[in-house]
Symmetry: C2
Subunit: 396 residues, 2 copies
C-alpha cells in the first residue's frame, strides 16, 4: 500500500523519515507492506527519496489506486480540506496533524469517511506525540467521561514555567521562547489561547459526539499574567497554567473555557512544565486519568501521524467509534452555566466588598464559587474603589 | 454476541454491572449487540441478572457458539489458564485482569489466540483503569520504545505517600493502609514488590516482543524504608517510590529491576501519590510519555476489562500487533549490565571511603553511577566501619 504525504515541512518530513527508516516495523504492524508513494509540496524538497515520488499535482495521488492513505501535513483549511475530502470520497483513508481543519471540518470529514468506508484519523492534531485521541475513542469508550482539563499548548506552558522558575516578566519569557524557537514571531495563536481552544474543541466533539465550535468557547490568553501574579500564586502553593477545559453538565450541554488557571501544587497538572502537555480526563468508571508528553515538535507529532497511518493501513473498514456530528443547536451550555472560585488581586484591601472570600495574601483573595456574570459584578465593584490587578479562576 | 464473565468477585461483578448498565453504549461501540450471557462462579452470586445465566460448569460456556468473548476475573493460574486456553482453542476471544496469568502464560496464550484467529487481551492486568496496554501496542507501535518506568502498585504508593506526608513509620503506614482496605492482611505480594514485578514483566514482554519472566527480575520491596530515609530524601528535594523499571540496552537485552528509588521532585513521577499509578515511557520519536490514573479498584479495573471486551467483539480477526514469544535464551541483561547512582546513608561519616560521592546531608551521599556488584563492594566496605542505614538507587 502506498502512502502519500502532503506537505514536506516540519511534520511532513518527519513522517517521511519514519516511514522509510522504520518501514519494516510499520509494515509488520499494519499487516501489509506499506511504502512512501508520494510527496506533494509546492516545491520539490531536497529529499533522499527520489524525485520520481515527488509531485505538485494532487490528482496524481488521487488517481493512483495503490494509494491507501493520504497523510496531510500542510496545515490550514485550504487546500488541505479539499485534498482530504476528495481522497475520502475515493475511499482512501486520510490522517492529519491539522487541528484547525479537524476543529472546523471534523464532523463533515468523519461523515464522508464513514459513507465511503474509509477512515479519517487525527491523533497528531492534539497533544503531539501523546497517545490521546485513540485511548479516548477506544479504551475509554464506555468509561463515562464527564470532564477534560488540558495543558494543550507548549509555548504558553514554556512561558509560564519560565516566569515561575526565574520570576521573569511575561515579555521577557516570551522573547526567550521566541529565541529558542518555542514561540513564533507572531505568537498570537499561542499566547491568546486560540491553539488550545481548537484542541479542546476537538476533544470535546470527539468525547461527547457533537461539534463544539472553537468560536463558541470563551478564550482568554496569558498575556495579562504578571510576575506579581506568579509570585503570589507560588507563595500560596499554586501554579498558573493555561488550561483548556470542557465538562458535560447534567443537562447534557457542555461548559467549556480556555483561560489561565490557578492549580494547587499537589495536582498532577501542576507538575507539567516546559513544553510538555497533559490532559486530565474525569470519567465515571475510571476516575482521574492523565496523559502526559511532548505536545509538539517534529518527531513526536510525526510519530502520531505514523500511528494513524498504521491504523488506517491495518483496518480495512471504517472504525466507527470515532465520530461526531454537527448539532442542530449549539451544545455550549453558556458562560454562566458553571460557577468556580477565583483568585483576585487588587492594589488595595477589598476584603469588605467580599467578606465571604478567603484571604490568601495581603491583597489576594479566593472568592466563593461564582459564575462569569457574578465575578464581573464583583470585579466592577472592586474597580470602583481601586485597581483590579488580576482575576484568575481556581482549578479544583 | 454473548459475553461470559468468569468469577463474580470484585472485578467480575463490576464488569457485569457495566455490561448491563451501559449496554447500549457498549453495543454501539462494538458495532453489534453484546449481552451478558453467562456468569461462572463456584457459588451462585446474589445477582440481579437472573439465575438462568449462572453456571458452575465452564463447558456450558464453551459449547455455546453465541459466546464470543470470555472475560476471566478469577485470578491465579488455575483454573483461569485452562478456561482461557480452551476458549481460545474454540476461536472465542478472551480478556483478563489477571497479571499473574499474563506474566506466566502470556506468550503461550497469545500464540493460541493467533492460531485460532481470536484475541487475548489484558488491559486490566497492568495499571487498572489506565489505558496503557492498548496505546503501547497501537499508538506507540513504531515509536521505538527504549524504557519503561512505572509506579505500578497502589498499596506501596499509598504507604510511601503516608510516610512522606505525616512522617509515619513504615509499620504505622502499612496498618493504616490495611484499615482502609488498600493493603491485604498478608501484604507480602504488594510490599515485597512481587505485584509490581509481574506488571513490569508484562509491559517489557509486550513492548520488546520476548517474554521476560518475573522470576528473572531482581525485586526489592519497601519494607526497609524508614522514616529517616523519607525525612532525608524530602529535605534534599526527593521523593521515594517503589519503581518498576525495564530498559532495552544497545545489545537488545533487557535490564529490569523493581526497587524503591529516589525521584527528584521535578519529575512527573514524583507527583504520583496515594493509590495512583503511573507509567513513564521513553521512546525515540516521542520522548517521554506518561500515563497516570487509578491502578486498582473495582470500577477502574472493570472499565478496562470492558474496553477489551468491546475490542474483541468489534474485531473479527486476530489483532496481530499484540504478541510476544518465549525466547530461546533469557533476554535479561543481568544485574551488572546497568550502572546508576545510589543514595546511601550510614550511622557515621563515610565520606573518606567514597571521596567521589556527593554529600547531600550530614550522613547521606549520592554515589557516582555503580553496578549492583560495585555498590555491594562499597556497602560491604561501609559495613566494616559502622552501620549501613540505607541504599536506594536514584532514578534519573
Amino acid at each position: 500500500m502506498k502512502i502519500a504525504v502532503l506537505g514536506h515541512g516540519t511534520v511532513g518530513s518527519g513522517v517521511c523519515k519514519i516511514l522509510s527508516e522504520e518501514n519494516n516495523k510499520i509494515s509488520s504492524a499494519a499487516g501489509k507492506t506499506v511504502e512512501l508513494g508520494y510527496i506533494l509540496d509546492i516545491k520539490e524538497p531536497e529529499n533522499k527519496y527520489g524525485s520520481e515520488i515527488f509531485t505538485k499535482d494532487f490528482s496524481d495521488i488521487l488517481s493512483d489506486d495503490e494509494v491507501g492513505v493520504v497523510a496531510e501535513c500542510i496545515g490550514g483549511i485550504e487546500p488541505a480540506y479539499s485534498y482530504i475530502k476528495s481522497a475520502l470520497e475515493k475511499g482512501k483513508s486520510a490522517v492529519t496533524s491539522n487541528k484547525e481543519l479537524v476543529a472546523e471540518k471534523g464532523a463533515e470529514l468523519l461523515s464522508i469517511a464513514r459513507a465511503h468506508n474509509a477512515n479519517f484519523l487525527f491523533e497528531a492534531s492534539v497533544g503531539g506525540g501523546i497517545p490521546l485521541i485513540r485511548p479516548l475513542y477506544s479504551s475509554m469508550n464506555a468509561a463515562g467521561i464527564t470532564g477534560i482539563s488540558g495543558i494543550l499548548n507548549g509555548t504558553t506552558n514554556y512561558i509560564l514555567t519560565k516566569m515561575f522558575r526565574f520570576g521573569a516578566d511575561y515579555s521577557e519569557a516570551l522573547s526567550d521562547a521566541q529565541k529558542l524557537g518555542y514561540a513564533e514571531r507572531d505568537p498570537s495563536a499561542d499566547v491568546l489561547g486560540w491553539d488550545a481552544c481548537r484542541k479542546i474543541a476537538i476533544l470535546s466533539s470527539l468525547v461527547w459526539g457533537k461539534t463544539l465550535k472553537p468560536s463558541e468557547i470563551p478564550t482568554e490568553g496569558i498575556e495579562n499574567i504578571s510576575a506579581d501574579d506568579v509570585k503570589t500564586a507560588e507563595q500560596c502553593g499554586f501554579s498558573i497554567k493555561l488550561l483548556a477545559r470542557a465538562k458535560q453538565l447534567e443537562n447534557g450541554k457542555i461548559f467549556a473555557k480556555v483561560s489561565p488557571a490557578l492549580i494547587k501544587n499537589n495536582s498532577p497538572l501542576a507538575a507539567v512544565n516546559d513544553v510538555f502537555n497533559a490532559v486530565l480526563i474525569n470519567a465515571k468508571t475510571t476516575g482521574e486519568v492523565l496523559f502526559y508528553g511532548k505536545g509538539a515538535g517534529k518527531m513526536p507529532t510525526a510519530s502520531s501521524v505514523i500511528a494513524d497511518i498504521i491504523e488506517c493501513a491495518k483496518t480495512e473498514n471504517n472504525i466507527g467509534n470515532i465520530y461526531w456530528e454537527d448539532p442542530e443547536e449549539s451544545v455550549f451550555a453558556g458562560s454562566d452555566s458553571f460557577a468556580e472560585r477565583y483568585f483576585i488581586r487588587a492594589d488595595y484591601d477589598f476584603s469588605k466588598i467580599i467578606p465571604e472570600a478567603e484571604r490568601i495574601s495581603a491583597n489576594a483573595f479566593l472568592t466563593p464559587a461564582l459564575t462569569e456574570t457574578e465575578v464581573s459584578v464583583l470585579t466592577d465593584k472592586i474597580s470602583e474603589h481601586g485597581k483590579l490587578l488580576s482575576k484568575i479562576p481556581l482549578f479544583e
